[in-house]
């Protein structure tokens, strides 16, 4: 089926800039929407949406299963493993399951075909409704090396959605797990705070979305009357500024009480609705301008 909806990813170079604030309020402003919490190490969108959980599925990753009788001790698997998940002791490989990133390289490299794969549960996805917003929350089990298998499963829900807008609350930073979260997005929103540290991290995510050729714009959060290093960075590097969210105690109070500003406060309903329209227009414009994207 042809997709007529937009997938919008919200990301930032560091934690605490307002990714969840923006993605939750966008989904709430859209009224009917899909919200994917890809911040699987500490998902928190559900604190705001408080969905009634109607389904829960476990997510597994593949880890190597070594047949030591078949192994001839060539050590190729151990030398290949960039994650140091395999040690080589007394001429046999020893697997550290918690370190394995499920890349599958050792299976491919084993000349004896002594390595197969088995499933290991690494987390779960909880799904439920909050008003007209369908909330999917990815949860990585404590101590697991990578949340990517969970994000892949979450994105299948986005791919299956053909009409409603999808909002992706990304993990912080610009590592593999963020790349995985934005790869299917039509538009990326970068949330930045007005600090020098914020600028450093904004630059990292700007570089990332450019590598991925994603149309993008910045929301400046926690804006004060005083100078804003993030705003200066955007102007200097011609990065599009979508809007400014004020450093407002009313918004902070709503947020710290796990309330969705759009559902509680007229001013913020208007702000996020207008902002959402801007983003939809820009994203559609980009899609027309570059249909190959």
């Amino acid at each position: 089926m042809k997709k007529s909806n937009l997938t919008i990813a919200v990301l930032s170079g560091k934690g605490g800039t307002g990714k969840t604030l923006v993605s939750v309020n966008f989904a709430a402003a859209a009224e009917s929407a899909v919200y994917l919490d890809c911040d699987v190490e500490e998902p928190n969108g559900h604190f705001f949406f408080k969905p009634e959980i109607t389904s829960e599925e476990t997510v597994s990753a593949k880890i190597p299963l070594i047949d030591l009788d078949q192994c001839n001790g060539c050590r190729k698997c151990v030398d290949f493993c960039k994650f140091n998940a395999l040690a080589f002791i007394k001429n046999k490989p020893v697997l550290f399951k918690d370190i394995c990133h499920s890349c599958g390289g050792c299976v491919l490299f084993c000349p004896q075909k002594a390595i197969s794969e088995e499933e290991k549960v690494v987390g779960k996805i909880q799904s439920g409704m909050s008003g007209q917003v369908c909330v999917h929350t990815g949860c990585l089990n404590t101590g697991e090396a990578s949340g990517i298998p969970i994000i892949k499963e979450l994105l299948k829900k986005s791919a299956a959605e053909t009409t409603l807008p999808v909002f992706i609350d990304c993990p912080p930073g610009s590592a593999c797990i963020v790349m995985e979260s934005i790869k299917d997005a039509d538009y990326c929103i970068l949330v930045a705070e007005p600090t020098v540290f914020g600028v450093h991290n904004l630059k990292m995510v700007c570089d990332l979305v450019e590598v991925f050729h994603k149309p993008h714009g910045v929301i400046l959060n926690k804006c004060l009357e005083t100078e804003n290093p993030a705003e200066e960075f955007c102007k200097e590097h011609h990065v599009h500024i979508l809007d400014r969210i004020p450093f407002d105690s009313k918004l902070g109070t709503l947020n710290s009480n796990a309330k969705i500003a759009v559902r509680e406060n007229d001013r913020y309903r208007e702000l996020f609705s207008a902002l959402l329209n801007t983003v939809i227009e820009e994203a559609n414009h980009e899609a027309v301008a570059d249909p190959q994207r």
Binding site: V78, F83, N84, A85, A87, I89, K90, V94, F96, A145
Partner: protein, 122 residues
């Protein structure tokens, strides 16, 4: 017998490095020939599993005793399977620690920490 020590500098008169997996160098000392050599620790820049990689190097070099102030659980598993004993080092230089070990003054480490994993204690 071959002894290994995590080091900040390549000198017998330098102090033992407080970290095992992330130490910049390893000292290898042969107590029979009294010869010493140093290796860069390739695990120092690992994203994860540094302890495993470092322990692998120690095991590959046929070390029988590792002298370190502490050691993580994963490294301890590799070392124990490779039959390397881990002894608690004392504050001071590599030379002082080798002497103490050869005089049976260093106790075996029997508590291994679960790893700092990006939350390094300074």
């Amino acid at each position: 017998m071959k002894i290994a020590i995590p080091m900040n500098e390549q000198s017998l008169d330098a102090d033992v490095c407080p970290s095992f997996g992330r130490a910049p160098y390893f000292l290898f000392y042969n107590s029979v020939t009294e010869e010493a050599y140093y290796l860069d620790n390739a695990a120092v820049a690992s994203q994860g599993g540094a302890g495993i990689r470092a322990a692998q190097v120690i095991a590959d070099h046929g070390v029988k005793a590792l002298l370190a102030p502490r050691c993580g659980e994963n490294a301890a598993e590799v070392l124990s399977k490779a039959e390397v004993f881990v002894y608690h080092s004392i504050p001071g230089t590599a030379r002082q620690n080798i002497e103490a070990h050869l005089n049976n003054q260093l106790p075996l480490i029997n508590e291994f920490h679960a790893g700092f994993h990006g939350h390094e204690k300074k």
